[in-house]
């Protein structure tokens, strides 16, 4: 038995689907952002695995470099996202996204 590309693809698909489930069911803004991190990680697993299995020369690591940029993006997203959450919490004293409905008045 051997681990092939499809194993990694299914694992990352599972992780991505779990992230989607979390995004759709959670109301807490912090939990939502955590689910986004899960989905980004699923993407990274995919990138690295595809780079390994479909690129015969290990020195061309385009997928890994792309994954590194995704990590950078995730760091920036987390920092701005949590700044927003803190600002909203400070001003409205609410953390659940469906209760932040000032514009609906």
């Amino acid at each position: 038995m051997e681990i092939g590309l499809s194993h990694y693809l299914i694992l990352s698909g599972l992780l991505f689907a779990i992230g989607i489930y979390g995004i759709l069911t959670r109301r807490n803004a912090i939990a939502l952002l955590m689910c986004v991190e899960l989905m980004l990680n699923a993407v990274n697993i995919n990138l690295v695995a595809i780079n390994r299995f479909l690129q015969p020369d290990w020195r061309i690591m385009t997928g890994q470099i792309f994954a590194a940029f995704v990590i950078v993006l995730a760091a920036a997203e987390a920092c701005v996202g949590f700044a927003l959450v803190i600002a909203i919490y400070r001003n409205l004293n609410r953390i659940n996204v469906d209760e932040i409905n000032l514009l609906k008045w």
């Binding site: 590309l5 779990i18 807490n28 990680n41 990274n44 700044a83």
Partner: protein
Amino acid sequence: MGEVIAFYILALIIVLGALAVVTGRNLFHCGLSLAAVLLAVAGLFILNGAEFLAWVQVLIYVGAVLVIILYAIMLSENITGERILLISQNRGVGFAAATLVFALIAFLGISLSGLLAGHTSSVKDPVLALLEGADSNVIVFGTLLLTRYILPFEFASVFLVIALIGALVIARTAE
């Protein structure tokens, strides 16, 4: 054999941890489960020969992003022990959508990986000339990053500065 065992252990940690993140009721425990998932993903990177990326993942995700998350949790729970119980809603819709997405990805993944297995690019990449004699993951990574991917690299640094300033402006208390 070793790879198979390692893969299944890591996959188990990832799936169970992710499920704990999306279904747990205690936000702080969700954060800790997320840490387990991130570390296991780093393990998968090592399994795929991406050592540098794996430790970058630990450094940035676990060392920085997760700490931000924990701080956000502590700040949003009014510092003192007012615990927020997480409520999930629309579970049916969420489950259906997740199943659909998973089915789609799994179908595409299986069919494509079968299709692509034999198909590998035969064009000799010109960047290989730069990587002559490079024997470690780190050297190759750095060389590629500073030659072919120099533009995205520089853009990423600008992007990070923008995000940093943006976050500071947003989170600052009004004078």
